[in-house]
Structures are given as structure tokens and as C-alpha cells.
């Protein structure tokens, strides 16, 4: 019983950490979408026009998912989508790292700190968050084993 409670507590903390991280990531980008557009474009994966659309919707999606992971009605889908986003971010950072791009991550809005991006840190951070998502999804599936289409 004690072990179950400890596990549940850890998953709850993981859930709160994920929500906090995504809220903190979303708010500065919602406040300054133009700067975030440039950060997205700097990855040189999509052009500036498409970057503007990404900069408009992605921060709101992050905010909705951050809150959604705490709301029982939508928390499983929110967790799954956060997992997908984290996979995409890891792929994006790995791609930028391999191409030798020296750019700002833009993960939490415009980052000023040291020049150059520490890609290994960014990827490690997202892998840890992905592990949190795995724990959250596993607990949600165990607690609510009803088929998704019911």
C-alpha cells in the first residue's frame, strides 16, 4: 500500500513538473510570437511563413496540454500529445546539432544567456520529460483500462 502511494505521489509530482514546464514554456511565447517565429525559422526546417503559423498555435497547444494533463477528462490525450511534442523537439534539436547550427533554442521564448546552444542538455532534459510522460501514461492506463473508443 505504502509502495503504491509512493508511486502515485511520484507520478503526481511528474505530472505537476510537466504542467509547470509547459506553462513556463508557453507563456513567454504567447506574449512575443514574433520573436518565437524567428526562433522557429532559425532551425531552417520550415520557412518564415509557416514559422509564423507554428508560433501562433504551438504556444497555445503547449498551454492547453499543460493544463489538460491535470484535467481528468482530457489528461490521457494531453499526455500522449506532450509525448509527441517532446519526440519532435528531440528530433529537431538532434537535427540542428548535426547540422552545426549555433542558434537559440527558443524553448522558453527568447533565451539570452551564453552564446551557442547546449544541445546535449536540451536533449537530456526532453528525454527526462519523456520518461515522466511514460510514467503518467502508464498510470492513467492502469487506473482507467477502459478501451479508448468506449
Amino acid at each position: 500500500m505504502g509502495a503504491i502511494n509512493k508511486k502515485s505521489l511520484f507520478v503526481l509530482i511528474a505530472r505537476l513538473v510537466l504542467a509547470g514546464v509547459f506553462v513556463m514554456a508557453a507563456l513567454p511565447k504567447i506574449e512575443d510570437p514574433v520573436t518565437f517565429t524567428n526562433s522557429v525559422a532559425a532551425f531552417r526546417v520550415i520557412d518564415l511563413d509557416l514559422s509564423a503559423w507554428v508560433a501562433l498555435f504551438l504556444p497555445w497547444l503547449e498551454l492547453v496540454l499543460a493544463l489538460g494533463i491535470l484535467i481528468p477528462d482530457i489528461r490521457r490525450s494531453s499526455a500522449a500529445l506532450i509525448g509527441l511534442l517532446l519526440f519532435s523537439f528531440i528530433a529537431l534539436h538532434t537535427s540542428a546539432w548535426l547540422r552545426g547550427l549555433d542558434i537559440s533554442c527558443g524553448c522558453f521564448g527568447y533565451e539570452t544567456g551564453e552564446p551557442g546552444t547546449n544541445y546535449s542538455w536540451l536533449i537530456a532534459r526532453n528525454v527526462v520529460l519523456l520518461w515522466f510522460i511514460f510514467l503518467v501514461l502508464r498510470q492513467d492506463t492502469r487506473n482507467n483500462p477502459v478501451a479508448p473508443n468506449s
Binding site: 514574433v34 524567428n38 492547453v64 479508448p148
Partner: protein
């Protein structure tokens, strides 16, 4: 309706509402409108927050008359000497390079920035919106 689909639709609807709020409140510019910043441009307020290597793309006379502290003079006339000085400075301490010219309407900074992107493909290079005028204001 399958539960998963219902959840995804809820999340999508909330996201669209949020984006609509950004557009209606003026927080975000219309994505299909002319961008406030041209591709590769940066505002002075953002540039000031960075560790920057400034590049002055104006004429030597304008550079001598006044320039941003520690800026390197680099224009088409003195390209060879300027680019050598820039590269040696940048290689010692790689950082964001921002090129500026005289004013909002000048295009030299964008042209020099484009040339520099070819010479230094790994560098983050911008042109300063508003140029020298923005700095002296």
C-alpha cells in the same frame, strides 16, 4: 464518438480559441500579413540582450564618424580586409553577428549578412532593423 477523438477535438478547439485570442487582442500579428521583421532581421531591443559581434556595413567615412563600440567595418569596398578581421574575432569568441547599415531603408546590411552567411555558415547572423538610426535614437 470515440473518447480519444473527443479529447483531441477538445484540445484542438481550446488551442484554436487561444490562437484566436492572440490574433484578436493584437498579441500576435496575422501570419499571412507582411511580417514586422523581414527574414534575418533582429530588433535592437533583442540584439542588446545578446552577446553580439557588431558589423558596420556603412562606408569607411560613416564608420569613422561614429559606430557601435567594437564594431568591425565590413562593406563591399573593404571586403577582404574586413572579413579577415571579422573571422579572426569571431573564431576567438563565436557569438551572434549583427550587421547594420544607415537606416531602416538601407539594404546593405541584408546584402552583407547574406554574403557572411555563405562565408560563415555556422554563425547566427542577423541584420539590425532600423540600422544606425535605431542605435543613435
Amino acid at each position: 464518438m470515440p473518447r480519444f477523438l473527443r479529447e483531441i477535438l477538445t484540445i484542438t478547439a481550446l488551442t484554436i480559441l487561444g490562437a484566436a485570442f492572440s490574433l484578436c487582442s493584437g498579441l500576435a500579428p496575422l501570419p499571412w500579413a507582411e511580417p514586422v521583421l523581414a527574414p534575418g532581421e533582429i530588433r535592437l531591443i533583442d540584439a542588446r540582450a545578446l552577446d553580439v559581434l557588431w558589423v558596420d556595413a556603412r562606408s569607411k567615412a560613416d564608420f569613422t564618424a561614429g559606430h557601435i563600440p567594437e564594431a568591425i567595418c565590413l562593406n563591399d569596398e573593404h571586403w577582404e580586409t574586413g572579413v579577415v578581421a571579422l573571422m579572426s574575432t569571431w573564431l576567438m569568441n563565436p557569438r551572434t553577428i549583427i550587421v547594420y547599415c544607415g537606416s531602416e531603408s538601407c539594404a546593405t546590411s541584408k546584402l552583407i549578412a547574406d554574403r557572411l552567411r555563405e562565408s560563415l555558415p555556422n554563425a547566427e547572423i542577423y541584420s539590425l532593423k532600423g540600422g544606425w538610426d535605431a542605435w543613435v535614437q
